[in-house]
């Protein structure tokens, strides 16, 4: 296997094959990772309480037999995996972990790894395709009022082709237009609307349903790194998974679905940022100052953010920027975070989720990030070797006198998507 190889996989073990919603390939791989000693633990997700699809916690699994209990895809759960690995698992510096993650989780991990807070080499990242997650409390309200079902009856959710499809225990499927739901305040988390990375090729392996025929219990798997290639080779050799080539139409179908998701995200981005982009600078500033005025200095945004990592944070009262005890804090609080993290924001949305003042942070950060990305040829969270732009000055820049060279490049490359 090499980077870029694609195939359809399913578990060889009868038990895992039966339980897994897509043939159990991912479960089999995770179990194999533990069995073979490639990793010391698997970081999975388990439902908090019996069959509760709306709340889950991270589960550090060391017993291969327990891997099968890992929850399937829970659309109403959006755990801050990157933060938990950094904060509570010592950044994986002393242990090897296989991490099941969405694209944004993997991107966050890569950015943290660039800042040496996580050891990327000790992680085996098994990425899962994602088209968005939902906030649990609002999702339950939506199911009751829009879908008219009991949230406890739902066994699966899918976000596909502009629809949110809900499957009930008895097999009934109910589909509703996603954007219509979101107009009413339901649907996906705010940042998910504008996310354009559905297939996590930045992980070691990317797994998903796109490219798999309806009813087939297989997982479309793409090898995304040398580590991933070696791991898959061994998995096949040991016989824990069975693979077959996907066929041209499957590959095309997957590409098509990805394009569709990206188009949808472009549409949402244009819609969500339209007003902010069109109003005058003065109005824009008044808007953000009004938002920052609601801040209660809980520091949840800073704590949640994968980019924020300073041991002695600039927002502390003794750094001279943000006085202690003031509500709202000095505007330097939010402007500092924007200046420090804007270029590397991965749009994970954990900051906005955690903000009690309901400040739409992801919109501000995305607006800046979209401008910076073409300026510096930098896409955050994709390549652990790519240095954050502000410290990535190249030697050849010493022979370029033009002060505006990045600004000009940015203006040329900035794409404001049309609706």
């Amino acid at each position: 296997m090499v980077k870029g190889d694609m195939y359809l996989a399913q578990a060889s073990d009868e038990e895992i094959l039966k339980q897994g919603e897509s043939g159990g390939a991912v479960t089999a791989l995770l179990k194999f990772a533990l069995d073979s000693g490639v990793v010391d633990a698997v970081l999975g997700v388990k439902k908090r309480d019996g069959n509760n699809r709306y709340d889950a916690v991270l589960d550090l699994i060391t017993d291969p037999e327990k891997v099968i209990d890992c929850a399937g895809s829970l659309h109403c759960v959006s755990l801050n995996i990157a933060r938990n690995v950094k904060e509570y698992l010592g950044g994986a510096k002393q242990m090897k972990i296989a991490v099941l993650c969405k694209p944004c989780d993997a991107r966050a991990i890569i950015e943290i790894a660039k800042r040496k807070q996580i050891n990327r080499d000790n992680l085996l990242l098994i990425g899962l395709n994602c088209t968005g997650t939902l906030p649990p409390v609002v999702a339950k309200e939506m199911l009751i009022s829009e879908y008219e079902v009991d949230p406890n009856e739902v066994v699966m959710e899918d976000i596909e082709g502009g629809e949110l499809i809900v499957t009930l225990a008895d097999g009934t499927k109910i589909a509703k237009d996603l954007l219509e739901l979101e107009k009413k305040g339901y649907g996906r988390r705010d940042n998910c609307r504008r996310c354009n990375v559905s297939i996590p090729t930045l992980a070691d392996i990317a797994c998903g349903k796109w490219g798999v025929k309806e009813g087939e219990k297989k997982t479309f798997t793409e090898v995304c790194s040398d580590k991933g290639a070696e791991f898959i080779d061994n998995a096949i050799k040991t016989g824990v998974i069975k693979v077959e080539p996907p066929g041209e139409d499957a590959i095309e179908e997957r590409k098509r679905k990805d394009r569709e998701a990206i188009e949808l995200s472009n549409k949402c981005e244009a819609e969500d940022l339209k007003e902010l982009r069109e109003i005058s600078l003065d109005d824009r500033l008044a808007y953000w100052l009004h938002m920052f005025d609601r801040c209660i200095k809980c520091f949840s945004c800073r704590d949640a953010c994968p980019i924020c990592y300073c041991k002695k944070c600039f927002l502390e009262p003794d750094r001279g920027y943000v006085k202690g005890g003031e509500v709202p804090p000095d505007r330097m609080f939010h402007l500092t975070r924007l200046a420090h993290d804007g270029d590397s924001c991965v749009n994970c949305g954990q900051c906005q989720d955690a903000c009690p003042a309901e400040i739409p942070l992801t919109r501000l950060y995305l607006m800046l990030n979209i401008k910076l990305s073409p300026m510096f040829d930098y896409v955050s969270g994709m390549d652990v070797e790519q240095k954050p732009p502000l410290i990535a000055a190249k030697d050849e820049e010493a022979s370029i006198d033009d002060i505006d060279i990045f600004l000009v490049k940015g203006e040329a490359g900035e794409v404001v998507p049309q609706q």
Binding site: V77, E87, E316, G325, V327, D353, C355, P356
Partner: protein, 678 residues
């Protein structure tokens, strides 16, 4: 290999009841993570909640019982300590014993305490610090709507289209409830803020800001009622069918002179009109109030008028309406439900011979006390034996210089707490208690929401859950068979049988995020979001009763000697007596010490410079905080947060309302201020 666990529980600070996940690594709590499924806060927390666990590992955590010998504490065994206590309690006159309990302990802790007090000590002498914040709420609301509880759920507040925030700096004191107000605003709701200080709440929420003179709420509320009646904006149908006493109110109101009301309150009538019209015309008008209304000598009257406003406009019985007190403590509602008060048995059954017999039969004990007991400060004054569980009168009571003298002269003072608090230092026996993360149990938040607190880590040292020492004392004193509880769940099973509003709640059902709001009469009942939804109030005749209230001055008006009106209160970053929050690093980084807020014009007059030390004096004592000049306080007023033991605002406070509330007037104390320089 690392053991990593995530335990969902409730933030131990205020009455909002936000959910949090505690991260447990190898048996110790190492962090707080969002609990996104929790309906109250949806994964969001304030600075206190984000750092909720840190004080558990604070320095000086009590680990063993302590007995005072010759002025200093010696470590002892539980048997020794409890034996000593039992000796003193046996044969003590029931009227001489007082139990000061706490809204920071679980329902199970409180239930066992009141059962012990009543069955073993045959006394109704028990009370807690809600005497100091909502003792006016209960009589105020009982006389109008029949129940002193929050009517709507905090979540439903965002359904309102007009919200009155009266005497509550909600953005700092209950930010996650403030979030609901913000969300209502975003949907177009109008917000009216009533506060003598221009707090951050007024600045960011208020569409109409009624910055009245301190302690003039009655005049203002009478003004609003007058306008509504004169402009015929009242809900005539509602008044006719669901209330009584309107004619008396109308007659009283018509005699009031608007100019006089303007003069007393300092609010021009046009502004009052704007507010009155906005509230009266609203589809769902919601009144939220807290200490700024309740902590006054006239607190009962203030609250009766707020209730009158809801009855006047028919803003009752629907989600997002009503008159809503906010409980400060995490179990501020539960303590009342459990009956750890001098005038009610559990479930708000008034103390009487009938009640004594009823509970005597239920518990299998004869001779239960049939006369009401005495309240907090009366116990502090008169009881020779005080058992203080989780309370800190040396910081929270009024006139703490006097309190110190009283506590130093008791026969026995037992303090059961987490740390050597200012009160524990004066005790004869100190017992180590478990924190919220070490014992399991239920708490009942401000919107009657019963929630489960999970045990996350093992107990510190020999600390026990607050209910256990009472069971052990009962055993020593011969009542073992009545106190056979082996776990919190067993206690809760008994609570369910005794308190009708809790009957349908079980620990199993409480696994659900967000708990269950009482009343919940049966196991298939989902709980109750909004009170009085069936149109009947909890008064004997089921009607809402209008009350007539006359404006009266505060208990200790300002004069030439003490020309400033001091209000004590809370700030966002610290909490109550500081036992928990001052042992939390993040919070100390923000606010480390006490300060006095003073208007810059007053400062100029007194020759005081921003940031310097000042002396603030009242008839009862003096303290020396730093001064903070701000336009937030009007001229003639001071604000001092009361969280700091070394500069305790309650040295200055004192005058209280009379019965039934006996509420200390924390929001209006006559003081003077001068430069503190040498």
């Amino acid at each position: 290999m690392t053991e990593l666990d995530y335990v969902p529980t409730i933030c131990p600070y205020c009455g909002t009841g936000c959910g949090i996940y505690l991260v447990i690594k190898d048996g110790a709590i190492v962090g707080v993570e969002p609990w996104k499924e929790h309906p109250v806060n949806e994964g969001k927390n304030c600075p206190k909640g984000r750092n909720a666990y840190q004080f558990i590992y604070g320095e000086g955590r009590l680990e063993k019982p302590l007995i005072k010998e010759n002025g200093s504490f010696k470590e002892a065994t539980w048997d020794e300590a409890l034996g000593l206590i039992a000796d003193k309690l046996k044969g003590a006159d029931p009227s001489s014993v007082g139990f000061i309990n706490s809204g920071r302990t679980t329902n199970e802790d409180l239930y066992v305490l009141q059962k012990f007090a009543r069955c073993v000590m045959k006394t109704n002498n028990m009370d807690n610090s809600s005497r100091f914040c909502h003792s006016t709420t209960v009589p105020g609301l009982l006389s109008t709507v029949g129940a002193g509880v929050m009517e709507t759920s905090t979540i439903s507040i965002e359904k309102a289209d007009c919200i009155i925030l009266a005497g509550v700096n909600i953005h700092e004191t209950y930010p996650l409830i403030g979030r609901r107000v913000e969300r209502a605003k975003e949907k177009g709701a109008k917000v009216i803020v009533i506060d003598p200080r221009e707090t951050i709440t007024a600045r960011i929420y208020a569409d109409i800001f009624l910055q009245l003179n301190p302690a003039t709420d009655i005049a203002l509320l009478n003004g609003l009622i007058k306008i509504i009646v004169e402009e015929e904006l009242e809900d005539k149908e509602f008044i006719a069918s669901k209330t009584s006493g309107f004619e008396e109110l109308k007659s009283y109101i018509s005699q009031l002179d608007m100019s006089e009301l303007e003069q007393i309150t300092g609010i021009p009538r046009d502004l009052m009109k704007e507010a009155a019209q906005a509230y009266a015309k609203a589809e769902r008008g919601c009144i939220i109030f807290n200490a700024g209304i309740a902590q006054h000598a006239q607190g009962v009257g203030n609250i009766q008028l707020l209730a009158d406003l809801t009855l006047l406009t028919g803003n009752q019985g629907r989600p997002g309406t009503g008159v809503n007190p906010l409980r400060g403590h995490i179990n501020g509602e539960g303590f009342g439900d459990m009956g750890t008060v001098p005038v009610f048995y559990p479930g708000f059954v008034p103390v009487s011979g009938v009640a004594a017999k009823k509970f005597g039969d239920l518990w299998g004990v004869d001779g239960l006390p049939a006369d009401p007991g005495i309240g907090y400060m009366d116990m502090v004054e008169n009881c020779s034996i005080l058992y203080i569980m989780g309370a800190n009168p040396m910081m929270s009571a009024p006139d703490i210089t006097r309190v110190r003298g009283l506590l130093e002269n008791k026969d026995l003072v037992v303090v059961q707490d987490l740390f050597m608090t200012e009160t524990a230092k004066l005790a004869d026996i100190v017992l180590p208690a478990q924190t919220w993360a070490e014992e399991e149990g239920t708490v009942t938040e401000t919107d009657r929401r019963v929630q489960f607190m999970n045990k996350a880590v093992e107990a510190h040292g020999e600390a026990k859950p607050d209910w256990m020492p009472f069971c052990e004392l009962a055993k020593i004193m011969g009542y073992e068979d009545k106190f056979t509880f082996g776990s919190a769940e067993e206690i809760f099973e008994e609570i369910r049988k005794i308190v009708p509003t809790y009957t349908g709640i079980t620990y199993e059902r409480l696994k659900k995020a967000g708990g269950i709001q009482w009343p919940c009469p049966s196991e298939d009942h989902p709980g109750t979001d909004t009170m009085f939804a069936d149109g009947k109030f909890k008064t004997p005749d089921g009607l809402g009763h209008f009350q007539v209230v006359e404006h009266k001055p505060p208990a200790e008006p300002v004069d030439d000697e003490y020309p400033y009106a001091l209000a004590t209160g809370r700030v966002l970053f610290q909490y109550h007596t500081g036992v928990m929050s001052r042992r939390t690093e993040r919070l100390n980084y923000e606010v480390l010490s006490a300060f006095a807020e003073l208007n810059p014009e007053d400062a100029k007059k007194e020759g005081i410079v921003d940031g310097e030390e000042v002396i603030v004096k009242s008839r009862r004592g003096e303290i020396r905080p730093f001064v903070k000049l701000t336009e937030e306080v009007p001229k003639g007023m001071l604000f001092i947060p009361w969280h700091f033991a070394e500069c305790a605002a309650n040295v200055l406070t004192g005058p209280s309302a009379g019965p039934p509330s006996k509420m200390p007037e924390y929001k209006y104390v006559a003081v003077n201020i001068e430069k503190g320089g040498e």
